[in-house]
């Protein structure tokens, strides 16, 4: 089956991101496909590569990167929700004349159309809030 995940949970204030990772891993272990992971609402902060948790805590950003690279998963961050929360890639930083950026591959910024595409083209879209 084709699954997509919608994550709304703030990465370190809520459990949703960690649950989503476990769910994604379980999907892949059973031979299912993850079509896309879409980060929206507070979850857009997961996309920032500047997050620096302590060594004995999970680094959500890094865990998603590893999973995405291993299994070629699409990690899409909602551009509108991300920009206002200070999550920008290099080209958006340039466009809005900001000094720095904090999002790069495998994460990417895109519109809500990508969430619609995921909802339509997956058998199941599971929300982690």
């Amino acid at each position: 089956m084709k699954f997509s995940l919608l994550i709304l949970a703030s990465p370190y204030s809520q459990q949703g991101g960690l649950s989503a990772l476990k769910f994604a891993q379980a999907c892949l272990n059973q031979g299912h496909q993850i079509y896309r992971v879409f980060f929206y609402h507070e979850a857009v902060q997961t996309a920032s590569f500047l997050q620096t948790p302590q060594q004995d805590e999970s680094n959500l950003h890094q865990l998603w990167c590893e999973l995405a690279e291993q299994h070629k998963i699409d990690l899409v961050t909602c551009i509108a929700a991300a920009l206002k929360r200070g999550v920008l890639d290099k080209s958006e930083a340039k466009r809005y004349e900001k000094d720095g950026f904090n999002l790069q591959k495998p994460f990417e910024l895109s519109g809500l159309g990508q969430l619609l595409d995921a909802q339509i083209n997956s058998d199941q879209l599971i929300t982690f809030a």
């Binding site: 649950s19 476990k22 379980a26 199941q124 929300t127 809030a129």
Partner: protein
């Protein structure tokens, strides 16, 4: 046939109550994250619905199953999702 994911505690959030208000007898319910505190709530203790709770979230919180609610792992969680027409999260 819908699988309802309850992701918040019923003692502080209306997710479980709102869901039970509209749930169909054919539907199933899965308690996860703080939703597993639903195990302690009278709303779940009376239920005749097919109900599950995510074992890892229960264990993490020191909860044990008291009634007909079935403990499942992530593998079974994925299976349940694939067996239902819709999966709706309540948070």
């Amino acid at each position: 046939m819908t699988l309802h994911l309850i992701q918040r505690s019923p003692f502080s959030n209306s997710a479980l109550k709102d869901c039970l208000n509209i749930i169909d007898s054919q539907d199933s319910i899965l308690l996860m994250e703080d939703g597993v505190y639903g195990l302690q709530h009278s709303l779940m203790q009376q239920t005749k619905l097919t109900a599950y709770a995510l074992q890892e979230d229960m264990t993490a919180r020191g909860l044990t199953s008291k009634n007909s609610i079935k403990e499942i792992d992530y593998c079974e969680f994925v299976n349940l999702c694939s067996q239902h027409q819709h999966v709706i999260s309540w948070y």
